[in-house]
């Protein structure tokens, strides 16, 4: 995973709540067996509308998506994170994220930042006023900065450390193989197994 320390880019205001993962990327785009190439499915239904924010010239180069509450509800598809990343987004800001989407994003290095709804609205106004507004999402200081505004956000130390170091979770867990071994040794024998197959 790529390290995430700080990112500065322009924003895309997505004034919608409950943006579910079927909107972020519809099921028909989930057939690929790779982790890339999902950008064409991103918000595909909405992108057929010329008025949709991503179709506007001034927002084409945005890398920070600023969305309404309950972003990423619905299915567990990590393709939603890949689609946002493949398209070029580095961070998503919202006042509330669905749990699974947030977990997926933080595993994959797409920084999801929770700000109060009032701060999100202020950011929308700033971006709409000047689409070139530079937004800095800084993990070191856990702040979002634009113009002369700085807003702090929370992220637990462990996740922050993992993101800043770009660490692979599996590698970290495998350091504790001994603990897994001893846990397994004590598992009750009545716990079900899928093999051998019983019919």
């Amino acid at each position: 995973m790529e390290k995430f320390v700080t990112h500065t880019g322009s924003g895309v205001p997505l004034r919608r709540s409950n943006v579910d993962t079927d909107q972020i990327i519809p099921a028909v785009y989930l057939k690929r067996v790779t982790r890339n190439g999902f950008e064409d499915g991103l918000f595909s239904a909405w992108r057929s509308d010329p008025e949709f924010v991503l179709n506007k010239q001034e927002f084409k180069s945005g890398t920070v998506l600023v969305a309404g509450p309950e972003f990423g509800t619905g299915s567990s598809r990590e393709h939603a994170v890949w689609a946002l990343q493949n398209y070029g987004f580095k961070a998503v800001i919202s006042s509330r994220f669905a749990d699974i989407f947030r977990g997926n994003s933080l595993k994959g290095g797409l920084l999801t930042v929770i700000l109060p709804q009032s701060a999100v609205e202020a950011l929308w106004v700033a971006i709409e006023g000047n689409p070139a507004t530079a937004i800095t999402v800084d993990l070191e200081s856990r702040t979002v900065t634009y113009h002369d505004v700085t807003v702090a956000f929370e992220l637990d130390d462990y996740t922050r450390w993992r993101l800043m170091e770009g660490l692979d979770d599996i590698g970290l867990t495998l350091k504790h193989t001994d603990s897994i071994d001893s846990f397994e040794a004590k598992r009750p024998s009545y716990k079900p197994k899928t093999l051998p197959i019983r019919i």
Binding site: R16, V33, L172, I180, R198
Partner: protein, 463 residues
């Protein structure tokens, strides 16, 4: 102080905990399907890693499989590659797979319980958010992303931070014609799509205890639609009886059951949040909007956004009505339907098919619509045929299909056309969920069947 059911199960699975870090949780079972696993297996290969416990892993094909001509080669080459990739990965890593045509193929959350590998006190994961279904057995079961699928394949564990606990008490007795689906739709309408965020919900109360195992699965299935990490129900005699005799029921049943009997929330345990619902007052429920929280009793009318106080919700309602092509004030029962979909991991089990068939028996579906009946699994399909339910559906004019997710997510060719309106027993009414431009009303199997007959949203009482 006592512990909640979820806390007990969680603590029984902690491999390692350290201050400031998520708990490392042991996973008793991982279910795999074609859509969210390919990239995980690729990751393993790239890192030269093995699957730690193939014997705690099982795969099936469901999301992207056809429901007609299942033994012919899949026409869409991209879909075919996805299925082939799963088959090859299962072979390479020694994982049990139930492919199209196999008696145990079907929607992953229907297959687990029917094999008896879903049992109380387990931790169960799958790259699918409706994994919460398995919570009906008193298990902590939740959906994960592909990176986590890879993590569990490699280590059989998952670093997870402990969710908060919420109790939803449903007390009282359901009226005739009101089902598990109506309970969960009513709950989501009350607490909202984000109401369960960060929580494991425990469903309790007399109305929940009265539900069959299948009804309990329907309730737990849609926990995710309330934003919850998982949903569960304390196991009881019904749970034990359901598992007994299933292929993977424990050999030492007594030992297992004596553990299962410890799985309940202690009387003095504290939940972080509690909600109570009166089952006596519930009516058949249906959604009118584009998220599962936008639901109302079937007797109500399409709401007027102008009357919604919260500006965020008002905006969402306005957008939803526009997308759904609905006018505020229209009685829900006047809404004409084009397609009825009976199926999915929410309502594609045998009891659901029986319920719908009991309404359709000897009747015809309205000539203004089509009805698709897609059993949740091949076993459900066979059982239904044994009982002659296929005949009831076919005679009524419905299409009788093979098992899979089908129109629940519109990934295979079973999709709504632009502007087409469905009454669907599935779990998501998101924009375009069942096909680009399609409009979905979530309903119970009983409402689906009555709607099929009348052509507009209806309950059996309207017949």
């Amino acid at each position: 102080m006592g512990k909640t059911l979820a806390e007990k199960i969680w603590e029984d699975h902690i491999v390692r905990s350290a201050a400031g870090e998520p708990d490392l949780l042991y996973i008793d079972l991982q279910l795999i399907h074609e859509v969210t696993s390919a990239q995980a297996f690729d990751g393993l290969r790239l890192a030269g890693r093995q699957v730690r416990r193939p014997d705690l892993t099982i795969a099936t094909e469901d999301h992207n499989t056809p429901t007609i001509d299942i033994l012919k080669p899949i026409a869409d080459p991209v879909s075919k590659l996805q299925i082939d990739t799963l088959r090859n990965n299962a072979k390479e890593f020694g994982i049990r797979i139930h492919s199209l045509g196999d008696a145990d193929q079907g929607v992953v959350h229907v297959v687990g319980p029917q094999l008896g590998i879903t049992q109380p006190g387990m931790t169960i994961v799958c790259g699918d958010s409706h994994t919460s279904t398995h919570g009906a057995f008193g298990a902590i079961a939740f959906g994960i992303g592909t990176s986590e699928v890879e993590h569990v394949l490699a280590t059989q564990t998952l670093p997870s931070s402990r969710p908060k606990t919420m109790a939803i008490n449903v007390e009282g007795t359901l009226k005739t014609g009101v089902t598990a689906k109506d309970i969960i739709l009513a709950i989501i309408a009350q607490i909202g799509t984000g109401g369960g965020q960060g929580y494991i919900i425990e469903y309790r109360g007399s109305a929940i205890r009265e539900l069959s195992m299948e009804g309990r699965m329907t309730v737990c299935n849609m926990s995710i639609e309330a934003g919850a990490r998982a949903g569960l129900i304390a196991p009881d005699q019904k749970t034990f009886d359901y598992i007994k005799g299933k292929p993977h029921a424990p050999e030492d049943f007594a030992a297992a059951q004596s553990y299962w009997e410890t799985l309940f929330t202690d009387a003095d345990a504290q939940f972080d949040r509690e909600i109570t619902l009166n089952a006596d007052e519930l009516e058949p429920f249906v959604t009118w909007g584009t998220n599962p929280g936008q639901g109302l009793p079937l007797n109500a009318s399409v709401p007027n956004p102008a009357e919604i106080k919260d500006s965020e919700e008002r905006g969402a309602a306005e957008r939803a009505l526009q997308y759904m092509g609905l006018e505020a004030g229209t009685p829900l029962k006047k809404i004409a339907i084009d397609t009825v979909f009976l199926g999915s991991c929410t309502n594609g089990r045998i009891e659901d098919l029986r319920a719908a068939a009991s309404v359709l028996e000897g009747k015809k579906i309205s000539p203004t619509l089509r009805m698709l009946v897609v059993p949740g699994s091949e076993r459900v399909r066979q059982q239904a045929m044994k009982e002659g339910l296929d005949k009831v559906f076919i005679d009524a004019g419905a299409e009788w299909r093979n098992a899979g997710c089908s129109m629940c997510l519109g990934m295979n060719p079973d999709q709504l056309a632009v502007g087409e309106r469905s009454a669907s027993t599935s779990n998501r009414n998101f924009e375009g969920r069942q096909g680009k431009g399609g409009r979905t009303h979530l309903v119970s199997p009983l409402v689906a069947a009555a709607t099929a007959i009348r052509g507009t949203l209806s309950s059996p009482a309207d017949l």
